[in-house]
């Protein structure tokens, strides 16, 4: 009698210090199915997967593979059991070739001669070909597109003989077109008898590809459903815990004077790479301009240039009519430009310092905050206290190191700091990354609030839904250039997806 479940996790608990990431989770996957683990950011799905793949070890509970209890102590153990994981951030050594990455950890031979290499390349091509995964095996990874790197990751896992394949948020780095390709691949894998578990927070994808769906929320497993027996609304409700509340929508407004005028901006990013090519656009008072596009197409460099962090090679930047001569953060700050960077802990906040110190980051030179070279301690603390209240930042105290705050509170802190300066222009880059629905709503409300008071917002985000929901105008960026522009009324996912993939199609025409 064969066990119906190829993977079973019973009573799993995972604790990090005092934080409980997984609380008494039961999870079972049938052989040969595509099973989606659904939940919003912070629900605990990645943690659960990490225990299956050997990166973490459970605090309590047991794991059964093919009916037998197993102790997965390391990624090597997982691979030996046939479990392979494709991480959200690829585990690839950039300087090596795809083949070298795939062959990493191979113990079959010590000496790598030319004939051995050729044999291995044939084996790799065979595996890749079987599942329709096109990769150039002898190219260094850093030269590959994100989609291709992901395919290398999948081939890597297949080559090692995995038949239970885990994918962690696989579509977060893909364009809509690449996502379709991935799903085709997954279906082929299923047809070949592999079991697929993927974690995601995107309802649409789950309904498109999964056979069964398990929903997690706040570390707990809620329910497992059959795709055919459920719908998006029910899933959304389970994910969030209440009827999906009204998504904040902007009211109609007429935009005013131009706040930011960018013309022909070109940024070279080193290694001979042109990150931003001749970009031109305008942001006016009272409008939100959204830039959609998959990460890595020049958005980061564009945002850095506009925040004064990066030099540009050609073109002009004009803020409130005054042209910027060269990149300078001080000029940006003084011009009234606020910047919420994409990686809050890396560039936005000083993790070991407290709330007051972090709030001071942009404004500490102002006479209100410091005088004669000395910080105005008491005044600053009162100001910080008022901000904490106003923006509902939950923390143990004003001096708690901010890295101990939750992601949502950290982001609120960042926004509090930037918004309090009453900026003319706010540049928000991936502002809701890693936040749960409640925090995301707060952030959206803040941005819309800025818009309502006549300020301008440049929203750069990989989350297409967010961009479409908030922006008055949407620009699509691909390969460093603006490849498409449309107003909110005209926007639709398909068109944007085509633009992102670099295929330009005027409305009404067929894609070339």
């Amino acid at each position: 009698m064969t066990e119906p479940y190829v993977v079973e996790m019973r009573g799993i608990r995972k604790q990090f210090g005092s934080l409980v990431a997984n609380d008494n989770v039961d999870f079972a996957v049938k052989a040969g199915e595509v099973h989606a683990l659904l939940g919003e950011n912070g629900a605990g799905k990645s943690t659960l997967m990490s225990m299956l793949s050997g990166v973490y070890r459970p605090t309590a509970g047991e794991i059964l593979i093919r009916g037998r209890k197993v102790n997965i102590r390391s990624p090597r153990d997982a691979l030996a059991l046939g479990v392979g994981m494709v991480f959200q951030q690829f585990r690839l050594v950039q300087t090596l070739t795809a083949a070298e990455n795939i062959l990493l950890g191979e113990k079959t031979s010590v000496w790598r001669g030319a004939s051995w290499m050729r044999r291995k390349m044939d084996e790799i091509s065979a595996v890749a070909g079987r599942f329709g995964l096109g990769i150039t095996a002898d190219r260094p990874v850093w030269q590959m597109s994100v989609g291709e790197q992901q395919r290398v990751e999948i081939v890597k896992v297949l080559y090692r003989g995995a038949d239970i394949i885990l994918l962690d948020e696989p579509t977060s780095v893909l364009t809509p077109g690449e996502t379709d390709q991935l799903f085709e691949t997954l279906l082929k894998l299923r047809a070949a008898g592999k079991t697929i578990i993927l974690t995601t927070h995107k309802l649409r994808e789950v309904m498109a590809i999964a056979d069964r769906i398990s929903v997690m929320r706040k570390g707990r497993m809620l329910k497992t459903l059959n795709r055919l027996e459920t719908n998006e609304r029910e899933l959304a409700q389970l994910m969030v815990g209440r009827a999906a509340s009204g998504i904040v929508k902007p009211e109609a407004r007429a935009p005013g004077k131009p706040l930011l005028e960018v013309e022909g901006l070109t940024v070279e990013a080193g290694k001979g790479r042109t990150a931003v090519r001749g970009v031109s656009f305008t942001v006016r008072e009272g409008e939100i301009v959204g830039i959609a596009g998959v990460a890595g197409n020049g958005q980061s460099e564009l945002a850095e240039a506009l925040a004064g962090l990066r030099e540009w090679n050609a073109g002009t930047i004009r803020v409130c009519g005054r042209e910027w001569k060269r990149a300078s953060v001080r000029t940006a700050i003084e011009s009234g430009v606020s910047h919420v960077p994409e990686n809050r802990m890396r560039s936005g906040l000083a993790g070991s310092l407290g709330i007051v110190d972090n709030l001071l980051l942009k404004s500490y030179r102002e006479p209100e905050r410091s005088r004669f070279g000395l910080l105005r301690g008491r005044r600053n603390r009162e100001w910080a206290r008022s901000l904490v209240e106003r923006f509902d930042i939950r923390a143990a105290g004003l001096d708690t190191p901010v890295r101990q705050l939750s992601g949502g509170n950290q982001q609120k802190l960042l926004l509090a700091r930037e918004v309090d300066r009453d900026p003319m222009l706010m540049i928000a880059v991936h502002p809701t990354q890693g936040l749960d629905i409640g925090a995301t709503e707060s952030v959206h409300r803040l941005l819309l609030g800025l818009r309502a008071s006549g300020r301008g917002v440049l929203l750069i985000s990989e989350d297409l839904d967010e961009v479409m929901q908030l922006s008055d105008r949407i620009l699509v960026m691909s390969g460093g250039a603006i490849v498409g522009e449309m107003s909110r009324e005209d926007a639709d996912r398909e068109r944007i997806g085509l633009y992102m993939a670099g295929l330009r199609a005027a409305p009404g025409e067929a894609a070339s």
């Binding site: 990090f16 910047h339 560039s347 906040l349 993790g351 942009k362 500490y364």
Partner: protein, 373 residues
């Protein structure tokens, strides 16, 4: 070695907990990398552990560790003379310690305090050689300024390659130490050599106008005021001033500091100017207040000891004072055991051992032992 490594090398975690398999069944070792706080007992335990380990080496050489330690203790703290000597040694340690602490606060690994010290000593001596007839009111301030300036410039010579050429400051500052040492040898054996010299080769003795005043007939000199002022300024700088805030920001997250509009290069230069300047001041104080001349071996490694002083003190002002005093005692104790045949390197060995145990202890202090089940 890139900045990322240097920054990440600091014990600021960023993870929310890590597990390791316990060595003893029934227990589990857990790391709590979030806590930066080192338990108060760590420096004390480190010193005791270091004493224990070095005792082994002392015993292996046929001496009683207890006798040796006892002699060191009484030599350093037991007599009035010993105590003042310890304070005399504390002065350069404290000045250099504050200096390197400022640099370490922004993760700039200045290990060139020794060279900066010597530069200051040489500059102060230069004033006595080339402007020998100034009255005290002019001579001493000039020597002080020269010492600070020379030390600052020596420090800049480490900062500039790092800021503009990404040259690892550890290597540069180290190399410059050796250069300074050779320069010292040159002037002391060469152009500045006192022809009527005594046993030790060196410059001519300083006049009263060129020597820092001492307190009440002891060897304890005005440099103590410099040192205490330096500590107070250091504490004040980081707690209350805008510049101190900028430096704390850089130390916590250089990327965020850039986002605040702070120029990392400029800050590196300013910090090394200050750091080197303090070490240079220490050099000036030593030649002017204690030795009253520039001579070979003017520094028994103050610059290196200061690094340990700073690290044990966790860069904390009060800790710096205590730590400098402790190591001053260690050096004096080391001298006092020379009479029974141990080399002065004994105290060097102890210092190194203490540093080892401090860093191990700091890591150990993050371990929590949890019972399973």
């Amino acid at each position: 070695m890139n900045g990322k490594a240097a920054a990440a090398g600091m014990e600021t975690g960023g993870t929310e907990g890590a597990r390791r398999r316990g060595l003893v069944s029934g227990f589990r070792f857990e790391f709590d990398p979030v806590s930066d706080r080192v338990p108060w007992w760590v420096p004390i335990a480190a010193v005791l552990a270091a004493l224990a380990v070095c005792a082994v080496f002392i015993a292996a050489n046929g001496m009683s560790p207890l006798a040796v330690y006892g002699k060191m203790l009484t030599g350093a703290f037991g007599t009035r003379f010993g105590l003042t000597e310890t304070l005399v040694k504390t002065i350069p340690l404290l000045l250099c310690g504050v200096g390197v602490s400022i640099a370490y606060r922004i993760s700039f690994w200045n290990i060139g305090a020794e060279g900066q010290f010597l530069a200051g000593a040489m500059a102060a001596t230069a004033v006595t050689i080339y402007l020998p007839d100034l009255p005290a009111a002019a001579s001493l301030p000039l020597m002080t300024l020269a010492g600070i300036a020379a030390g600052g410039v020596w420090g800049l010579m480490t900062a500039v390659p790092r800021a503009y050429f990404q040259v690892n400051e550890l290597i540069t500052s180290l190399m410059l130490n050796y250069v300074a040492l050779l320069l010292l040898d040159y002037v002391v054996f060469g152009p500045w050599r006192d022809p009527g010299g005594l046993n030790f080769p060196g410059s001519p003795m300083f006049t009263a106008a060129q020597s820092l005043p001492a307190f009440g007939g002891t060897r304890l000199h005005f440099g103590l005021v410099f040192a205490l002022a330096a500590v107070l300024l250091y504490a004040f700088l980081f707690r209350r001033t805008r510049w101190g805030y900028e430096l704390r920001l850089i130390g916590s997250n250089p990327e965020a500091a850039r986002n605040a509009g702070i120029s990392l290069n400029r800050q590196m230069l300013l910090v090394m100017l200050a750091s080197g300047g303090l070490a240079g001041l220490a050099g000036m104080a030593e030649v002017s207040g204690v030795a009253h001349r520039l001579m070979y071996g003017i520094s028994p490694g103050y610059g290196y000891t200061a690094i340990i002083v700073a690290w044990i003190a966790r860069l904390h002002p009060l800790g710096l004072v205590l730590s400098a005093f402790l190591f001053g005692g260690l050096i004096v104790g080391g001298y006092s055991v020379q009479t029974i045949g141990l080399p002065s390197a004994t105290s060097e060995m102890l210092q190194g051992a203490v540093l080892f145990f401090v860093i191990a202890g700091a890591a150990l202090g993050r371990v929590r032992i949890r019972r399973i089940g």
